[in-house]
Symmetry: C2
Subunit: 149 residues, 2 copies
DNA sequence: TCAATCTCAATGCAATTGCATCAAAAACAG
DNA sequence: CTGTTTTTGATGCAATTGCATTGAGATTGA
C-alpha cells in the first residue's frame, strides 16, 4: 500500500517552506522601510520602473501586467489610483481603439527615483548584507529553475 | 556627488527580483491546483497543519501567528471562518481569561489530510521536478541566510 | 493595594483583491 | 461582407486585508 505516490522529498518540502518564509520576511522588512519613509507599496514602484524602461516611458497595460505579474483587474484599478496622483497618464493606442498606452509622467519618474533611494538601500541591507555576490548568483540560478516552463 | 551610496550590486538586485517572481509563480501554480480541487487557500492549510503538530492539536492564536507569519487581526478573522466551518474550536485557556486555545477538530484533521494529497503533489510537480535534492538543499541554505536576524 | 502599564483578542471602517461579467473593438471564418 | 469568436480594459459585488482602536484581563511597581 502506497501512502502517497506523490509525496515530495523532505528537502523539497523544506525548500518550499523556506521560499515562502524568506519572501515574506524580506518583503515585510522592505515594505516597512518604504512605509516608514512615507511611500506607497512596491506595486507602485514596479509599475513606475517598468514604464520608465519602456520605449518613451510607455507600455500597454498588458505589457505591465506580464512584466509585473499583475492581475488584469488589479492593474486596471492601480492605474486609476496612479493616474489620480498624476504619476501616469492614459493615452490612446494608435490604430486600436480597445487598447491604450500608459505613459509615465515627470512626477512619476521623480517618485520612482525617490523610492529607489529607500528601496535600494533596503535591498542592500536585507539581502546584500546577508549574501556574498557569489551566493546571490547561486540563489538566482536556483530560483530561475523554479520559474521556468 | 554620490549617486547613491547604498546601491546594491546587480547580482543582489537580480536575486531579489527572482525571489519575488519565483515565490509568486510557484504559489500561483500551487494555489491554482488547490482551487481547482475545490479547496480553500493555503492559509487554511497552514493553520490546520500547525495545530495538528501542536500538543493535543492545540495552540494559542499567538503561536499560530508566529508559526505562520499571520497578522493578529487576519488570524482572528480566519479563525472565525474556520470555526464556522467546524474545522477548529476555541476553548478557554486555563488560568488566563484573556487567552484562548485553538483546537483542531476531527473534521479539520480530515481536511488537512485531503488538502495534503493535492498540495504535496503540487509541491512535487512544481519544485521537486525542477530541482535535485541537492539543489533543494542548497536553496534552503541560501534562503535561511535571508531569514536570519 | 491599586493605579499605571502591558498583553491578548476582537472589531469598525477603509482600502485592496478576487471573481464574474460586461461592452467595445478587432480578428476571424465562411 | 456578416455573423462568430477573441482581445482589451472596466466595473459591480463579495471576500479579504490593513489600520486603528477597544475592552477585558494580567502584570508591574510604588
Amino acid at each position: 500500500m502506497q501512502e502517497s505516490p506523490q509525496e515530495p522529498s523532505p528537502s523539497v518540502i523544506r525548500a518550499w517552506g523556506r521560499l515562502i518564509r524568506a519572501e515574506r520576511t524580506v518583503m515585510g522588512r522592505i515594505e516597512a522601510e518604504l512605509k516608514s519613509a512615507g511611500f506607497q507599496s512596491l506595486h507602485w514602484y514596479d509599475v513606475l520602473l517598468e514604464l520608465k524602461r519602456g520605449p518613451e516611458g510607455r507600455l500597454t497595460p498588458r505589457e505591465i501586467e506580464e512584466a509585473g505579474l499583475f492581475e488584469q483587474y488589479n492593474l486596471s484599478r492601480l492605474l486609476d489610483r496612479m493616474e489620480n496622483e498624476g504619476l501616469v497618464r492614459r493615452i490612446p493606442f494608435p490604430g486600436d481603439k480597445r487598447r491604450q498606452l500608459i505613459e509615465i509622467t515627470e512626477e512619476g519618474k521623480a517618485l520612482q527615483w525617490r523610492m529607489w533611494s529607500v528601496y535600494g538601500a533596503a535591498i542592500n541591507r536585507f539581502i546584500g548584507a546577508k549574501l556574498t555576490d557569489k551566493e546571490a548568483g547561486q540563489l538566482s540560478a536556483l530560483l530561475l529553475k523554479l520559474i521556468q516552463e
